[in-house]
Subunit: 475 residues, 4 copies
Amino acid sequence: MSITIDLEQDHLHEECGVFGIYSKNKDFNVAYDIFHGLYALQHRGQESAGIAVVKDRKIHFHKQKGLVSTVFQKENLKQLKGSMGVGHVRYSTTGNSSALQNAQPLVVNYKKGSIALAHNGNLINAYSLRTLMEDKGIIFQSTNDSEVIANLVAQMHGTNIEEALKATMNLIKGSYALVIVNKDKLIGVRDIYGNRPLVIGKREDAYVLASESCALDAVGAEMVRDVEPGEIVTIDEKGIHSIFSSYDCKKAVCIFEYVYFARPDSIIEGISVYHSRYQAGKILAQESPVDADIVISVPDSGTPAAIGYSKFSGIPYELGLIKNKYVGRTFIEASQKKREAAVRIKLNPLRSAIEGKRVVMVDDSIVRGTTSKQIVCFLKQAGAKEVHLRISSPPILNSCYFGIDTPDRRQLIAANVSIPQICEEIGADSLAYISEEGILKTVENLRHCVCTGCFTGNYPMEVPKEATKYLFEKQ
Amino acid sequence: MSITIDLEQDHLHEECGVFGIYSKNKDFNVAYDIFHGLYALQHRGQESAGIAVVKDRKIHFHKQKGLVSTVFQKENLKQLKGSMGVGHVRYSTTGNSSALQNAQPLVVNYKKGSIALAHNGNLINAYSLRTLMEDKGIIFQSTNDSEVIANLVAQMHGTNIEEALKATMNLIKGSYALVIVNKDKLIGVRDIYGNRPLVIGKREDAYVLASESCALDAVGAEMVRDVEPGEIVTIDEKGIHSIFSSYDCKKAVCIFEYVYFARPDSIIEGISVYHSRYQAGKILAQESPVDADIVISVPDSGTPAAIGYSKFSGIPYELGLIKNKYVGRTFIEASQKKREAAVRIKLNPLRSAIEGKRVVMVDDSIVRGTTSKQIVCFLKQAGAKEVHLRISSPPILNSCYFGIDTPDRRQLIAANVSIPQICEEIGADSLAYISEEGILKTVENLRHCVCTGCFTGNYPMEVPKEATKYLFEKQ
Amino acid sequence: MSITIDLEQDHLHEECGVFGIYSKNKDFNVAYDIFHGLYALQHRGQESAGIAVVKDRKIHFHKQKGLVSTVFQKENLKQLKGSMGVGHVRYSTTGNSSALQNAQPLVVNYKKGSIALAHNGNLINAYSLRTLMEDKGIIFQSTNDSEVIANLVAQMHGTNIEEALKATMNLIKGSYALVIVNKDKLIGVRDIYGNRPLVIGKREDAYVLASESCALDAVGAEMVRDVEPGEIVTIDEKGIHSIFSSYDCKKAVCIFEYVYFARPDSIIEGISVYHSRYQAGKILAQESPVDADIVISVPDSGTPAAIGYSKFSGIPYELGLIKNKYVGRTFIEASQKKREAAVRIKLNPLRSAIEGKRVVMVDDSIVRGTTSKQIVCFLKQAGAKEVHLRISSPPILNSCYFGIDTPDRRQLIAANVSIPQICEEIGADSLAYISEEGILKTVENLRHCVCTGCFTGNYPMEVPKEATKYLFEKQ
Amino acid sequence: MSITIDLEQDHLHEECGVFGIYSKNKDFNVAYDIFHGLYALQHRGQESAGIAVVKDRKIHFHKQKGLVSTVFQKENLKQLKGSMGVGHVRYSTTGNSSALQNAQPLVVNYKKGSIALAHNGNLINAYSLRTLMEDKGIIFQSTNDSEVIANLVAQMHGTNIEEALKATMNLIKGSYALVIVNKDKLIGVRDIYGNRPLVIGKREDAYVLASESCALDAVGAEMVRDVEPGEIVTIDEKGIHSIFSSYDCKKAVCIFEYVYFARPDSIIEGISVYHSRYQAGKILAQESPVDADIVISVPDSGTPAAIGYSKFSGIPYELGLIKNKYVGRTFIEASQKKREAAVRIKLNPLRSAIEGKRVVMVDDSIVRGTTSKQIVCFLKQAGAKEVHLRISSPPILNSCYFGIDTPDRRQLIAANVSIPQICEEIGADSLAYISEEGILKTVENLRHCVCTGCFTGNYPMEVPKEATKYLFEKQ
């Protein structure tokens, strides 16, 4: 028997990345740009990818399970002709079997024609809305929130699409960054808390919308600004203009975008993701100093904080763990002893840097603790005299309801045992998390505008008990 | 440059085959049986295939572009666990790009739970119904009639599914053979004209529904009877029972099932397809005799009529054309001269049987006439002294609105030129079609209960001018 | 658990088909023609396919496991540029694992440059020759006889390739039809018995070599003649010319090409394959008449003989069994009862033609008898009053050493039990094989020039005891 | 039109990685271990991968084009049963078309049975040896040196395999690290200069041979030692033992393994690859200091040297460029302007770290200079005030003849223009390479035992003018 190894399993997961582009040149094909944009956003979702483009007021699309570079070959891109379009990458939480029907963009026809819609986020009242619509005789073909949103927009067909979206926003609760194309415009929507990121970029010939600014860079576009919470941005032949939802918007950007999800080269709400992580390292060094010889990171996500820790503490930064850069599933034969080897296939300690050293190992977060335990074990085997674990986010104590795949609370190690117990379980010589105050300092200007629910249990909105998409699958 | 050759292109095409099975044994997996049923119905649709099964009141499904044996591998079948389910094969008329989203069974969730629905036929008022529903804010994700039907059923959720289907039948016009599963039952529905075939079969452990009886044979089931026009058959743990739509049903079975679509080993409405074709050959020999040395068929569809022609005329039957049995697309470099060779790749004249002979060549129908022309040319090159073409169906003069892919009237050769002109164009020494009376004799007991619209223009129901699914694709 | 069904397993199997073409036009690409030629020869081998072409004195090739239409896509064909080349289809007897390295054409470099070689046949002294060469330090990368031949040719590099082939023919024993290209010529070779077929064709612009004439038809070439036993045909810019091996050639063409292997539209040694089968049916009717209502065939190979039987006996020919035309592997769940259903998936009795009838069923041969038994059983279930089995070849009593995959003698039913016992085992009401004299009459002009070893044990050459390729795989 | 982007193209390329394992437990399957070993060596070759295992004295193998994780699926690994075996990853220099026939391990049968052979390196007298053998009538099926070696071994079959290898080493010139299995033993061979690395590892149950020690870590084996130059190591049921070639061995390990090829966590000849790179950074800082604000690396290969530069210079290390970690080919539409964007798809400057800063950018080498130029351009666009390029290897002035794919000398920028000119071309504010003395210090203990031919033109052996494998492809 063999088992499949996925080192990333011990991290929280973003569920989606979205991208949209509108070219002023009607003869230009945006499919390559969307491809590059999605490739830059690949870290936000690896299970399926899709692109929809508009040509002569008709939507053409292709979506499949797999990585962007697998789903889209030259042939597919060549056939996707159109001067505007949207794309989506998705990390599925519900298993392979439903990956295809849940792949986005969702393309639907309604009274006003066709739209393609790509969504990042999670609606907490989707179940109630779905029930209401089912009472009216509506059918659903997926378990995507996007289908709920598309149905609401379709029901409001008496008005234009922007007004329909505004009305929809009055009904839906939760997080959402949406990019939508219909026959003649590209629209971007961000929820009233701005919980999920969405930015606007500009190139000589085109406007771009993307989950992260790194995707703007990938297509040669300049950052214009973030979409505002509650804003509906429309891009068409008249240019760019916006309307706002009728709500007061209380900004509550997901802090975990800074901690782990976003690429370090992205800028969210004016704050460099790299810089915030680097700062976290510095603060961690201040809050939890330790007498040690070297600072190492768990690559790649722990690296900026490790560099920051090194800088403030003066302890030299070294490469201590080498990550095999060839992603893709690997297999091992199942047996307890082999499990250990499984992590080493992906991550190998660099003995010559570690041997005889007192090591500070910086990681971005601890979810279940299983991988951390194995890495500490390897470092000791490789001759580390001491291993001091420093985590650049506070303990994860609560589930997320806004688009992050958090495991069941019983699997969150910090929700179940004390920090000293975690330290013992992991086998580290010491363990410290950054403080809640500390993490807020890393995003200083946004300190009152972030959602820290996973650390504090304080969510930007009421979280109803039944708030979970898993209820959708009825008997 | 290269072009793709498809010899079948010069035939009319069925658009779908459906199959359903309900096993009394809850632990039995029906996926293999559905696979074999679809494999037996493969001639009814080669572009996509799908299977949906029900296990513990949940629907699992897999559908893809491709032949049944390509779409389903051991792995897929193993994962499709459930003791009842439905399957579908589809011939797409709308090109490859939309093949995947139009693949069936259609699986939807609605107020009452999930259903999987497979449809063969065509609704002539689908566009009007869709418009009505779009006015109510309904969205559509495909151009399938099945989605219209599923929405209507969902709107009638106040009653049980059989009553909802009955009410739906009061709204839809056109042809439909449906198989549906929900959480606890298998349902079969045939339109009020019985235009598309649907039969009931029985095995010790299971009931079966299928487009043709050859699929019952494939799973070891015995034929019970045809589903009646307007009948809704329900199979569940209480056994089999039916209700009927409220309409008087005027039976109008598609005559082309006998002429070409159905497999010769199928029995439709008590008439053997093989026998009716064989009869057509006999009648053709009677109506249009010719002094000749041998009778040959255009394989495989013309063979039963050729055998019948031989029997009545006393002219010996011979193999005159050998068909390459390895289906699959082939390529040739594009050039007028090579086009000729293209047909020969699939069909080769058997010189030793033909040389110096006066040949009667029996085929089931002529659509565009291009392939017939090439075959006659080959036979002459192979030394045939004369080639007399006998067609076992009357001239095709009209489009079909009930599920058959007929080309534009301008491409139907018989709708544009006289029979002598066709004969000249094709290069045959004589050409005769069976008479309308003749074709009716081949299905004698059903003579007043068949649709011969493609020959006569007399359709069983009013055909509105806009009756075509191509209108669905809005701007 | 599931098992794979292959209805063809109860037939003898040809092991290869070869094709070569030389165009006078240096700018013409022959890859499409080779593709079409191999497609026409697909029945001779379905496990792997390969094409090698020569452009600017360099050989380019592509070969893979799978059917011709799978192995070669537009892309592959486009890349295979060259005005001459060879192709090969192969039926592997040694299992999937080695299919790839044994795929042909074999492309090798030697003293004189590169050659691509495709072989149909079997060398009975390959093992001895291999041993001799291994003693000289030669390595082998496959278990193909072709590699033995290529090595012998390379060892004779002191002379030109035709002389090298002539010298090679003095060393090898067994059957071989070879097509070879080097940098500037196409060569065809047939063994001194002419055991395996090889024909020469001509098109305005090109010469063609092929295992069967049906492949000439597929590329629009006219038959010129068979390659003679022991002949080495060279085609180059000077035209076509030949030399002969130094042996007296005693022609011994494989009789089974007429019985089953070759396509009915092929002409071998001036005899139409269709005609010889048709004759076999007539002779069988004469030798073993029976009072019956209809004659049917086991499709497709038994059909010509069935038509012949019908003609002579006056008993009408009918379609009695419908074969599913979609080839490809199918799966069933393993269980004794299901085994029966397995054959029916591929072959369904046509009840309306059979019911209440006394049936003569004509088949080309019986190998193990298992499929025949199941078919007879189906016919009886479908209502046949009597089933009389007539076989258009004599009983197969011996193994073939010349390129046909015969099962172990213990599995040859006729080698183990008497004809009445076979009849009883199969469940037929009577069973008769054509006589040895009868089968010779079907190829009258060739009567003294055929190998009937599988029926009579008389082989055209001494068959050494160790004559089998299975010995190659050393420990 | 679209072009394919491969950022790695502007680096030198290793051509192969080899791996072998012998388990004492006859029932243990080593395929998974070989898979993990090759996965760890994937950086040494990405075009094809192969595994050969020995079970019951027979060799089974599978090789294909593609990455290790693509070529080997669970199914393949499950079928590869055997308690010893070898594996190979290959970077092809000769284009896709020949990738499959050149894939290794090479499996051949010869007088003494079967062997599987995997080779890293390049023979400089392969052409002459091939010519000699062709004169004897030997054929070749690939352009691999491995086939030359296998033939030589086969010719020496009068003695045992170790002696045959020893004799072979007397004939071949060039670099080679070989792993070989025959029916009962695993053998490792390193050329008399030890130019290509090969290490021995040990696990409780098994011995392991690998190109790099990181592959030992991947399978849980401990490093034993490097194979010695000229050593032939045999591992069989009697344990491990060696013999030596008859030559005096002058060690000349490839310096570029330390500079770029090997993984940083590997130990070669007792020197940590990471450490040597880190030292190179330190020495570079010493030799070519610069007044700057931050040190960044070109990921991932420049990172250890950048950390070393930072440490010695005291200038803080920062992440300045983010590499998209999803490998795989990407496409862009061809146009000059887009070429720029092409690099950015793989590598994005981290503006927040760079803006307004004087940047030292450390890279391992410059080949053509095109990528460096683009990166410097991006950094300036991202606001870098100055960019000082520091290269941790001396200028590459000469081709490699020992297994490294160096471009034509005309494409080596340093071989054509002066360092100041390179600096200007690239657009950097300053440019410095480490000195030859400096690079030797990074491998101090090995200073007299490295090959620095690509920098100095001093090769460990005479390099004949015709020394190139490209000559193999004859007309």
